[in-house]
């Protein structure tokens, strides 16, 4: 535990790992998505140029974010959209509530928005008596199950179809035991159509917002953001301030990268461009900071604000695939979440930068070339220096440091270790050795390299 009262990644991952067949299934499912990404990327000869261009556009965005925010506000306002600014999660939630209250509305539909997960909007509104229906199928499933999403693109990837069938049986009245995805999707279509037709407020996320034109783009496969927004009297779009891009033509670069990286599709079914409210409709944009402006000042970590939330780093990560999204105890899990979350709360998320093998696969697939694994490594150093590392880890590191800086001690320790592993293997092959839990211990050599070298030098 990292000093706080929640279970850390290692403990939560250990729980997930109790069911080995499920871990294998989870691992294989996500690896399959990663392979689809590889095939889609390979079909675009200029893929690396696109990644490089996207990364450089985002460099420009971060270097002039205040200017682009002002420009976007001006253009969006001119387009008839009301622009709000929220310094933190609470202000965001209060703004949404104030819009609902002004219209005396206590029910709304919401399409996928990781920002509202980050702000815990649903819980906040629930306490105020507002009914929120998540309309993305995966998000509806986890909402009915009373869980947070475990993946930012595939929210219920941790659940098996039989479990989803059971959830639908309980909440939507589908026949018990029916776990056919086609059937369950159709049941959800009918259930949610009624919600779309009767809700007067729709909240959506934002994939990209264009400073030049004051428009924003929302990408979905299901069409749920559009069904909600076009049928509602009031459309609220919540976005993090880093979602801006300078010009509309830059969308060409990002839309080519986003879905190929996410699911291996060439583009989402719908890439909807909202520029002005429908006649008689109200449109609001809430620009949310919630730690982003501070993060921008951290030289080593600001690149993580380039993220376009494709989740390619989740799907490729050997730790994510085998520990599940919930083990990250944060809205955005996976490698990118592990470098974004410590910025929000270094103590609470001190464990996350250690939930990685530093293999670098995340950085290799990132469509905007964020140096994810390098940032994970740098966060570890910051966390240890700030005193947030787990006590056990710090003690081990100090001992190792002492051993490695004293050759005599190192020699003796090596010899002793080899003797025990050869003659008393139970002393290392037991539950107290955390390394041994998921691994076989190697057979130790009879002599050390140092001894061998002394003997064979001539």
């Amino acid at each position: 535990m990292s000093g706080s009262n929640h279970k850390d990644h290692a403990a939560l991952a250990a729980e997930f790992n109790k069911d080995e067949p499920r871990v294998d299934w989870h691992d294989e499912t996500l690896w399959w998505v990663r392979q689809k990404r590889d095939k889609a990327a390979a079909r675009v000869p200029e893929w690396e140029l696109l990644r490089d261009t996207a990364s450089r556009i985002k460099d420009n965005v971060l270097s002039n974010l205040s200017g682009y925010l002002r420009q976007f506000e001006e253009e969006a306002t001119r387009n008839g959209i009301t622009v709000h600014w929220a310094a933190d999660a609470n202000e965001h939630n209060e703004i949404v509530l104030s819009i609902l209250s002004r219209h005396k509305i206590d029910k709304m539909v919401k399409s996928k928005s990781m920002l509202t997960e980050e702000c815990h909007l649903n819980e906040f509104l629930h306490e105020k008596g507002i009914d929120v229906v998540d309309t993305d199928l995966g998000e509806r499933v986890v909402q009915l199950a009373g869980e947070p999403p475990s993946h930012i693109v595939l929210p219920c990837i941790h659940l098996k179809k039989q479990e989803i069938g059971e959830i639908f049986h309980e909440h939507l009245g589908t026949p018990k035991g029916n776990a056919d995805p086609q059937f369950l999707t159709h049941a959800a279509r009918l259930h949610l159509r009624e919600k779309f037709l009767t809700r007067r407020v729709a909240l959506t996320g934002v994939n990209f917002a264009v400073a030049e034109t004051g428009e924003f783009v929302v990408c979905t496969n299901e069409g749920n953001a559009d069904m909600g927004a076009h049928l509602a009297d009031v459309h609220i779009a919540s976005m993090g301030i880093e979602k801006l891009i300078p010009q509309r033509r830059h969308l060409g670069v990002f839309l080519r990268l986003l879905t190929r990286s996410a699911t291996g599709q060439p583009i989402t079914t719908y890439s909807s461009h909202f520029r002005r409210p429908r006649q008689g409709q109200e449109m609001h944009i809430v620009l949310v900071d919630n730690g982003r402006s501070v993060h921008l000042g951290r030289k080593d970590f600001r690149n993580s604000l380039k993220c376009i939330r494709c989740a390619a780093c989740f799907n490729t990560c050997p730790v994510y695939r085998r520990s599940g999204g919930h083990s990250y105890h944060t809205a955005v899990a996976g490698p990118i979440g592990s470098i974004l979350s410590p910025n929000l709360d270094m103590k609470k998320y001190a464990d996350l930068p250690f939930a990685s093998t530093l293999c670098g696969s995340c950085s290799n697939v990132c469509p905007v070339k964020i140096d994810i694994h390098e940032q994970l490594y740098k966060w570890r150093q910051v966390i240890v220096q700030e005193g947030y590392a787990a006590a056990g880890k710090t003690a081990v590191m100090k001992t190792m440091n002492w051993v490695l800086s004293h050759p005599g001690v190192y020699h003796t320790a090596g010899k002793t270790g080899r003797w025990f592993m050869l003659n008393a293997p139970f002393t290392v092959k037991n539950g107290f050795n955390t390394w041994y839990r998921q691994r076989d211990m190697p057979t130790p050599p009879k002599q050390s390299f140092g001894d061998w070298y002394k003997k064979n030098k001539k």
Binding site: V44, P45, E46, D52, T53, I57, N60, L62, S63, N64, S66, L69, T82, H84, W85, E91, I99, L154, C156, I164, P181, Q182, L184, T185, L192, F196, L197, N221, E222, G223, N224, M227, H230, I241, P246, R248, R249, H250, L251, G252, V253, L255, P266, I267, T268, T269, Y270, S271, S272, H273, R275, R276, P277, R278, E282, D289, S293, V294, L296, G297
Partner: protein, 222 residues
């Protein structure tokens, strides 16, 4: 209505902008945009159609609206409510004029929507459709089945060319400056349940795209 002048959000605005301004790094130039490798030399329609079929849609090259009407009669014989944004199909369906300005909720029982779109994108099968072509913003999403009609000659190779085309369309006619527009690539779909692909999530369960080539002879299509 105007909450941006509200004091709390005004204070936050200035606070956010000041912090961002203080923390943003030294200016970085925008890079040149790639043009993209042309997906295939010459006629882009075959690449576009292959991309469409891969995402669960169907495409036909046709000679005119008469042919479209005949094919729609054959393919959607039972469709009770059909709404179209193509004036050439007014005899066949409820015209845009009748549906325009309606409460969008009243489109809930539309079984077939037939709409013109500006152009297609060869690399991904997407069609660009702007608000004025949609009858109502909700229609392309709420219709049970959707048909789009684009000029055969309109296909652009990739998304870079697509945004150049969008800018050119706006320069041509102010009516093309949209309040809302979208790329539609295939029927609505989801794979949220165990990664099993299901067509027809919340939007149309099928998409048919007609590529209109008025210079084409009907011979050979039936």
């Amino acid at each position: 209505m105007n909450e941006s002048s509200n004091t709390a959000t005004r204070n936050s605005r200035d606070k956010i902008l000041n912090t961002v301004h203080g923390n943003q790094p030294a200016p970085r130039e925008l890079p040149p945009l790639p043009e993209g490798t042309p997906v295939a030399p010459g006629d882009l329609a075959p690449t576009f159609i292959t991309a469409l079929e891969a995402i669960g849609a169907t495409a036909y090259i046709v000679s005119g609206f008469d042919r479209i009407a005949t094919m729609l009669h054959e393919q959607f014989p039972g469709a009770r409510r059909i709404v179209t944004g193509c004036p050439q199909l007014n005899a066949f369906a409820e015209a845009a004029a009748a549906a325009k300005g309606l409460d969008p909720h009243l489109l809930e029982n539309v079984e077939l929507g037939i709409l013109p779109a500006h152009f297609g994108v060869a690399e991904n099968g997407a069609c660009w459709i702007t608000e004025t072509q949609m009858v109502e913003r909700a229609l392309p999403f709420i219709a049970q089945r959707l048909v789009l009609v684009i000029p055969h000659s309109s296909i652009v190779p990739n998304m870079h060319a697509a945004y150049d085309r969008i800018a050119a369309l706006e320069a041509e006619a102010p009516a093309n400056t949209y309040g809302f527009s979208t790329f539609i690539a295939g029927p609505s779909k989801t794979a949220d349940i165990e990664q099993s692909l299901v067509l027809g999530a919340h939007g149309p369960i099928s998409l048919t795209v007609f590529l209109l080539d008025e210079g084409l002879s009907d011979a050979g299509f039936y």
